[in-house]
Symmetry: C2
Subunit: 347 residues, 2 copies
DNA sequence: CTGAAAGCGCTTACAG
DNA sequence: CTGAAAGCGCTTACAG
């Protein structure tokens, strides 16, 4: 780097000391306004650029936050985590921080390799987005750094995580179906696949319980195998009047399947999703679904990690981010007279 | 940072100098194998972590590459650039580098604000993904750093850019349609919106020229307004036998429109796209399209920037990344007897 | 094979 | 209001 202007260069040019330059550029006390202005001007003229590395070394801070995302969550149709990262990166900026993305490949996850961002002291804290193996959680936990888990959690009490309120969102949207006269409601999702799917199921179940609707095992429908790969969805007979899907993509696949079998959505049966991602509007009819608040997840994650950087002993526990129902065209009301907004739907 | 083990600590523990520790951990010459092993062992025991900041300061390198993406290219349906960034980030790892994402918001772009990654010497080079304003290109050009433009270019001769071979890809896929007997072929895209759309149009036009098919102005169909917002696509009469769309999403919208008008794709007319993104398989029938090689774009961008970091005077010019045609179900062959793979399509 | 010295560019007390 | 000194943690000549 030839063109390397330092504070010392500015100082020499003006016949002052580099301490004075440091104070002036940092807007500290102890320099006359006049001199301060002069120094700033000369700095600009000389195209001076502040050297963060020196500051980092002095203060023992990197001003970076590492964001770890397991590779398997970064497929073509999965931009959700990348999108959270994008917001995190922007939010960090207002703290004077930067986000360093670390895609965790399965090999490193399996062999429990420490991320380089950690072993090279590249970051002051870590945000992990997306479920990782128990063993790797352990690895992360042992790292001598503040950390936040986003969109998943672990039973360990002392881990802070930011998660969507899957349980409540699913509970609410099932309530909505029931308010609209549905009682034969199926749930679509592999209950043993992820904690999100499980929690969403439990919200659905709670709604059934509260309305004295018995849980029908034939109405719990698998959507994916152990590896998370989607399988053909089996439509139960008799046909339920509504399906609560664990995510929009599955709602999309289900709707396709129903249509191919000659059913009309929502005339013959209603379908709701979760996430409000691209599939929600791609599905025809467009999906009534629970919107996951990506920005809020990012905001909460960033605020939490930044607090932990300055106060390492701070604890947050499991922080829930509320979703909200987005009403579209995939639900039919079975009530005779109703004042609900679904009344516009042709029955 | 309480638990701050340095080389000096290891050195004291072993009664050697920190120089020796540095050599041992860095696998340099001049330390006996025995001592080297001992030092490494103690370092591990003490949970020593290398301090990159010190190295950075010594060498004047940050070991970061900044990746700038304009905010307007990061919408819900646009994960393309984020995805390139993801690959860039992974590829950088093999160079011992990290990628720092910088979403450029429109305000900073308009006011020509320098990115903080630059003014704080946070990065050794910059990759800009996605068209930015002329004025901001100027700002970037004046930065005293190696830079690469990805997925767009500027007329300035001295700027290195990595772009998809839009022209050739579009030329090839139009040739493919013509080989399959099509002669009434429309192009869908706003010619004045982006250089990609324009170049894709020119590839289409070249194919027509080579086959002595006159360009029909009614067959150049607008798809978006000045701001890039999609508009309703007007279907020309008589109906062309095929549509070359400037991207998959537009092919998706067009196909929907055609179906709503009662046309059958590809029986009544064929449709091809560009990108091979999520819309290609979401469209029914799935699209024959030109796949943009995201990984290769990322690889070329990373290799180029890394070379420029060590050799600042290196120039690459406009580097084209070849796409490849992905054959699916949206094209019908109009030939009587043909040995092409499209013959399996029911006519 | 091993280590004392100097320096990377900044900032924080502290002294004047 | 201004500046000399020391130090952040490492590495690169250089000397032994």
């Amino acid at each position: 780097m030839k063109n390397n202007v330092t504070m010392r260069d500015i100082a020499m040019k003006l016949g002052v000391s580099s301490v004075t330059v440091s104070k002036a550029l940092g807007d500290k006390e102890g320099v006359s306004d006049e001199l301060k202005a002069k120094i700033k001007q000369v700095a600009a003229e000389m195209n001076y650029r502040y050297n963060t590395a020196a500051k980092s070394m002095k203060e023992g801070l990197s001003y970076n936050i590492g964001v770890i995302i397991p590779e398997r969550f970064t497929g073509l149709a999965q931009s959700f985590y990348l999108r959270i990262y994008q917001h995190i990166s922007s939010l960090l900026d207002s703290y004077g921080y930067y986000g360093i993305l670390n895609i965790l490949n399965s090999e490193d996850e399996e062999q429990l390799n420490l991320p380089r961002i950690y072993s090279e002291k590249k970051v002051d804290g870590i945000i992990v987005i997306g479920q990782i193996s128990k063993e790797y959680i352990e690895v992360i936990e042992n790292m001598d750094l503040p950390k936040i888990f986003t969109d998943f959690y672990d039973e360990h009490a002392d881990i802070d995580s930011v998660i969507t309120d899957n349980f409540y969102g699913s509970y609410e949207i099932t309530n909505y179906l029931i308010r609209n006269g549905h009682r034969d409601i199926a749930y679509v999702g592999n209950l043993h696949s992820t904690s999100s799917i499980q929690d969403r199921f439990l919200g659905y179940y709670k709604s059934l319980l509260e309305h004295d609707i018995p849980l029908n095992n034939n109405y719990i429908i698998n959507d994916r195998d152990k590896r998370g790969k989607y399988i053909d969805i089996e439509i139960p007979t008799p046909l339920p009047s509504a399906f609560v899907c664990n995510c929009d993509q599955v709602a999309y696949l289900l709707t396709d399947k129903l249509k191919s079998m000659g059913y009309n959505v929502p005339a013959d049966c209603s379908v709701v999703g979760f996430d409000n991602d691209i599939y929600a509007t791609l599905t025809s009819p467009s999906l009534t679904t629970v919107e996951v608040d990506i920005e809020q997840m990012a905001t909460t994650s960033v605020n939490s990690i930044m607090q932990k950087v300055t106060q390492p002993n701070k604890r947050f526990g499991r922080v829930l981010v509320q979703g909200k129902i987005v009403y579209r065209d995939s639900v039919r009301s079975l009530n005779e007279n109703h004042g609900d907004k679904v009344q516009s739907i042709v029955v």
